[in-house]
Structure formats: structure tokens, C-alpha cells
Amino acid sequence: MLEIRDLRAEVDGKEILRGFNLTVPKGEVHAIMGPNGSGKSTLSYVLSGKEDYEVTGGSATWNGQDLLAMSPEERAQAGVFLAFQYPMEIPGVASLTFLRAAMNAHRKARGEAEISIPDFMRAVKTEAEKLSISMEMLKRPLNVGFSGGEKKRNEVLQMALLKPTLCLLDEMDSGLDIDAIRIAAEGVNRLRSPDTAVVVITHYQRLLNYIVPDVVHVMARGQVLRSGGKELALELEESGYASYDAEAA
């Protein structure tokens, strides 16, 4: 279970998360929807441990483990995975090199031996195929020169190979056409299990047609202002976020 209690965080002395509360039981998918600038990406960075964000109060635990006390790599090894809103381009590091380093880091943390090259290649091929990613592309430097859609599918590929238990998807649908959204969403759905919690951060309802949430939360000004069923997403699509922005001010 993901439990976030009264979480406060600031960047450059400016408070962005202002007493954020959220509980996501294992096996559930929760959506966080909110206007631009409400702190959605900040939440995802704070949960995954980015250094620029200073936590000033509250707690965040995953299956009882204190996430905020862990380094980013420890969080990842504990099952946390952030699919970035803007995946990084890493010149000079081939995707395959990166994937193998990440998989082996996870295995090492679990006390397992490194994956053999044939097993690794087989695993990558299988998942890449499902996401329509060519092996040629994976020999190139990570995300360099990739289109927005290719980068996002690459994030899902990493997720598929690392098999996280807490998936944080930050605006996975931004910049994607419908076909690409469907491919990426199917990838996420394949990861759903009774042990997995998924947090889908999105501005638009559209993605939630493909990754159907159990609960929808409305976030504005660093807080959850309202929670409801999946119909809340449709309501937001109709009415927009204006009323929430105002309420929070």
C-alpha cells in the first residue's frame, strides 16, 4: 500500500506540495488529475527521490517502507518506478547498455546473479515486440533523437523489464496519438496485479479510457481536493479545473 500523509515539499524555497494525502492499496489504479502547475510532477519526483525537492513535512511509505529515507536507487530497487513526463536523452549510453545495467542493479539488490546476455536479449526482444520498438532503435543512445511517442514507449519497456510494484505514470499520454496511447496503456495493464499499485497522473481523461482507474483524485495547489470514482474524470472533462483552482486559492 502507498500511504502519503500530509506531505509538504518545496523547491527553491517555494512550497509546492502543501499537505498532500493519498492512499493507494495494492492491486488498485488511482488517477491524479489536476491543472498545470498543481504539483503533479513534483509529487512524482518527491516519491522517486529527486534531490532538488526538499521535503519539509509529512510521510510517504510503500508497503510500510519509508520512501523518504531512501536514495532514488533504493526506491527503484524497492519497486518504485516513475515513467517520466519528459524522458531524458542520454547521449553515448546505448539503450541496451542502460537496460542491462538497470536490470542487473535490481537483481543484485535481490541477491541474484547477473542476467546472462542471451536471457537478457530474449527478455528485451519479447517486450520490445509488444510495444512495437525495434531492436535497432535499442542499439542507439538512450532516447537520443527519438520522437515523443518512442520515448514514452521506451519508458513502458523499462517498466515491463524491471517489473515495478509501484508505478507512477506522469502524463504518459502527453504528445501521443491514440494508437500510441493504446500501445503504452496495454503495456501498463499487463503489469497490473494484486501486488501492484498504479498512480496515473494525467491532465486529460482520455488515457483513463485505456487504463481504467479505481479511484480518481483531483489535485490543485499541492493538495487533493476531491476524490471519487472513474466518473469523476468525465465530469472534469466537462467542467474543467477552473473551480478547483479558485477553491484552492
Binding site: S48, G49, K50, E51, D52, S71, P72, E73, R75, A76, Q77, F81, L82, F84, P87, M88, I90, P91, G92, V93, T97, F98, A101, A102, A105, H106, A109, P141, Q158, L162
Partner: protein
Amino acid sequence: MTIHQAITAAATPSEQRFLDLYASVCGRLPGADVPAVRAWREEALDAFAAMGVPHRRVEAWKYTDLRALMTTVHPLGGIDGSEQVEVIASIGRALANIDSYRAVFAGGKFRADLSTIQGAPGISFAPLCSKLKSEADAGATLAALPLPERDIIAALSTAFATSGALISIAPGQKLDRPIHIIVIASGEANAYALRHAVTLGDGAEATIIETHVGAGAAQAWSYTALDIGKGATLKHARLTQSDAALHLASSTVTLGEGAIYEPTHAAIGGALTRSEGTIRFNGPNARTTYNAAILARGHSHVDFTLVVDHAAPHCESRELVKVVLDDRAKGVFQGKVAVQRGAQKTDGKQMANALLLSNDAEFDSKPELEIFADDVVCGHGATAGQLDEDLMFYLKSRGIPEAQARALLIAAFVGAALDTVDNEGLHAALDEKVAAWLAAK
């Protein structure tokens, strides 16, 4: 000798150390009793004395104050006796295993017993010392080994040379494997001087790998002249690696019409490394791609200085220099692109990027353009920065530990310069050297 004495009289202690060293060894150097050899050495020694040991007020040595950095001159090695060396232990298995025609110089001497270049097809090879024995041999050999102007390293390497590789590749010859010149400066506190010369005949194709390693506080001086004939192609990798040694290397490369020269230089560590060179286009439509990488930490000081001399039109030069500095290390890149009168349609570009891993590390870059033609495209750029924290976070967020994430990014950074090496064995060996350097911290 009277002129010689007049100069030495004015020498400061810095120069005097070298002059004293010469006086103490000149009777035992190869060719000591051959007047032509003696004259060749002393012309170089006089040139050295006239220039003096450079210091920071000498423009070309502004960032590498040799007078301050080199306070002792070790006894000259390579004259008597022979040192025990193990090639694999000295340069590492990966480099030693590259399938090549090998010329090994250890302790200032050519080691026929460790070399395989003798009699290699299409290569004419001789160690310099073997050509200094008679007046007749020496005359012909030394006429082809002139002293470049205003080159302190060449002057020292010539005056004190105990050996060196003389290589000539016949026109049209395409070598089936690289030539690997291995220079091991093995004595703890000796100085070694070598002079190499390589000529590639018209249309020839070759790859030369130079590996320079220095044990302890060895001092190594070398000068290399490379002449690349019309339409010939030379790929040239040069690795300098040591902990506390001092390397002073200089080279002059000349390219004929349509020739291609692709050097890749890497320096890993070393108390002081100065690697300077001139690449000169003597004919049109030639090109060079110079890639260089420096990895230094501790108190290392590594200086790459390069002049690309566009003396002919329609030539292209590319320079990419990647510098990684940690602790109190200092890196220097001085890159000059000179375009002579009439060298129209010159295309010269230069870029130097430094990655500073510590606040105490220092990178000095001095790009220089000297252009005497109007229809040219020339440019240069330099950057210095730290590891990108956002990229670090991305890697760590995938479970990759901090140290490994750093190593991946740093290897990728220098890889931009080193990945152009197409010899697989060498490529793997360089990767391994970089990884070992990264893991050593």
C-alpha cells in the same frame, strides 16, 4: 663547440641540468663516435639551449610551466644494460592481445625479443640506433630526420635519442593489421628519449597504435614525424598512461594531396603529460579528424596542444576533445587552426568539452584561429561543466547505483571521442582502460 659554450654559459639551472646530462652521456650514446650523429645531436642541443626550458611567459606554454613543473632531470636510461619487462603486465592484456605488428621499446631500447614487426610484409622497419653505427648509414638516415623549428620536445628527444621506430610503408600497401608501437618507460627514476619516423607511401593504408606507459617517476621524451603520402590513409591511436610519470611528446604530421589522417589520442593520468603536435596539409583535398580524451585526477597535469596548419586549399579538419578532471587535476587544450594565404575552401572546426568532477579541478582552453584566406569556414567552441544531475537522477531512478551511474555518464562523455576507433580490439581495450580508471576511485 665555441658557440655551444657561449650558450651554455648563459643557461639557467633549468637548462644546465640538461646540458650536464648531455655532457655526462654523450660519449656513450648510440653513434657517439660517428661525427654525423654527434653533429645531429648537438644541433638539437644548441636549439634547446637557445630556446631554454619554457615557462609560463612563453605563450605556447602558458598553462604548462615546464620550468616550474619539471624540477629534476633523471639519469638517461637506455644506454647500458637491459631492463626486465613484461609487456602484458605493463600495458594490460587487452592492449597486448591486439593482433598487430609490434615494436617494443622498453627502458629506452628497442626490444627485438618482444617485437614482431621485423620482416612484416609491406613494412620496412629499423630501430633508429641500428642506423647510427656508420657515417654512411647515419648520413642517409639523419638527412630524413630534420629538427623541427621551435620545438623543445623534439630538440630534447633528438639530442638524447637512444632509439626509436623508423617505419616506412610502401606506396599502395594496405596493411592487414595495425602496427603497435609500445613504449615502456620502466625505470623508476630514469629519463628516456626516443625519436620515431613513419612514412606512408602514396595510396598506402595503415593503422598505428602507440601505447606509452610509464612506471614510477619515469620521464619520457619523444618526437615523432609522420609523413602521409598522396591519397594515403593513416589511423593513429595514441594512449599515454601512467601514475607519476612525466611524458613530453611532440609530433609533426604532413599530409599529401587527398590524404586522410585520423588520430585518436587518449591520456590517462600521469604527473605531467604534454602532448603537442602539428598536422600540416601540404596538398589539397586532404582531411583530418582529431579526437582526444583526457582522464585525470589527483595532481595530474595533462596538456594537449595542437596546431592544424592549412597550407593547402580544400582541406578539412575536425577536432573533438573530451576532458574529464577530478580532484586537483589540471587539463589544458590549446588548439590552433592556421589557414595560410591561398588555402581557400578550408573547413576547420574544433570543439573542446570538459567535465569537472571536483571544484578544485581546472580546465584551460585556448582556441586560436589564424586566417590568411577569405573563402574559409572555421569555428571553435569550448565548454566546461559538471555531470548533469537530471541525467544522474534518471539513471538512479532505474535502480542504478550512484557510482555506476556516474561511470556510465563519464564513459559516454569520453566515448564521443574514443568511439570512432574502428579496430575492435583497440576499442575494447580503450573501453577497459576508461572503466578501470573510473573504478579506481
